[in-house]
């Protein structure tokens, strides 16, 4: 069953987006990217270090698309500037928009985020904002023209999974753009749950790059996202407080 994730009119064959942060080496990262079968990976933009090997080589070898982020920005103005630099660097108008509100929790600042998103949409960017799971905030981001909304399940790198599935389901109901669960995923069942809640995709980094065996976890995530998607489409059985026999009660030999 072909079932692409469509962002800004572009068909992505995989619903898993892989963040590259946290990998112990480019080799480990490349193995993880390949095992994940992702079509889109995030990168950050930082001062060039002549001594460092080129991350783009890895990305190009894997044949995946680049999604630059604005990690490290604390104001709309910083984020907008970094997005413009990223467009220059990578020749893509796609941006994972991050505007952080607190250094310790790395949680997004909704007010700055909406401001930055509106400005970047105006500048012709395809804006994919990393946001909290506040449903109304997600709705506002969609209203200003974001190509998708990317609510968190839990703080970045926490591995706490989806703390409030109820909000993710609400967001899915409130907006028409794709919803991508971003941040908090710790293991495969978290990714499957995100898709079962109706998310259109999952973005994760640390869960794979910081696992003991990144490539193996990358494969697990690939399967889990697919499994959750299929389960969502398959129409699960309702939850019942009581049992429903799965064997006939009649026909016993006594």
């Amino acid at each position: 069953m072909a079932d692409a994730l469509v962002l800004d009119g572009v068909e992505l064959p995989s619903r898993l987006i892989l963040g590259t942060g946290g990998a112990t080496s480019h080799a480990a990262l490349e193995a993880a990217i390949r095992a994940s079968e992702t079509a889109l990976v995030t990168v950050a933009l930082r001062r060039l270090d002549p001594a460092a090997p080129s991350l783009l080589d890895v990305v190009e070898r894997c044949g995946v698309r680049v999604l630059p982020n604005t990690a490290g920005c604390y104001t709309a103005t910083e984020a907008v500037k970094l997005a413009h630099l990223a467009r220059e660097a990578f020749g893509t108008a796609w941006v994972k928009l991050e505007v952080i509100g607190d250094e310790e929790t790395l949680l997004p600042d909704g007010v700055e985020l909406v401001d930055a998103a509106a400005r970047l949409v105006g500048d012709g960017f395809t804006v994919l904002p990393y946001t909290s799971d506040d449903p109304i905030l997600a709705q506002r981001l969609a209203d200003v023209g974001c190509a998708a909304v990317m609510p968190l399940g839990a703080p970045i790198g926490s591995g706490l999974g989806i703390r409030n599935p109820h909000n993710i389901a609400l967001i899915r109901r409130l907006v028409t753009v794709p919803v991508i669960l971003d941040a908090g995923i710790g293991t495969a069942s978290d990714a499957a749950l995100a898709m079962e809640l109706g998310c259109d995709g999952v973005l994760l980094a640390s869960a794979v790059t910081r696992a003991e065996h990144p490539a193996r976890m990358a494969e697990a995530m690939r399967l889990a996202v697919r499994a959750g998607r299929l389960a969502h489409l398959a129409g699960r059985i309702p939850r019942r407080l009581h049992a429903t026999a799965s064997s006939p009660t009649g026909g016993m030999p006594w």
């Binding site: 942060g21 995030t42 990168v43 930082r46 060039l48 080129s54 500037k81 630099l85 660097a89 970045i156």
Partner: protein
């Protein structure tokens, strides 16, 4: 002439261009690089003509691992 390149004071020839500065750091492979001159983006198309002045701040950025 003195420039501040990626926060490091550097002595460079007069008349150096942004393209030269990029070459200094990244060699002949300009893929995945962006430049800001005193905080403003310098489009790739204008690297060759853009000449930083004494004391200018040049930022040369590229892709690193990021989530």
């Amino acid at each position: 002439m003195q420039l501040v390149v990626n926060a490091v004071a550097s002595t460079v020839d007069e008349g150096i261009t942004v393209a030269d500065v990029v070459r200094m750091l990244a060699g002949e492979d300009p893929r995945g690089i962006a430049v800001a001159l005193n905080g403003d983006v310098v489009p790739r198309s204008r690297w060759a003509q853009t000449r930083p002045a004494e004391g200018d701040q040049v930022e040369v950025l590229t892709a690193v691992q990021g989530g």
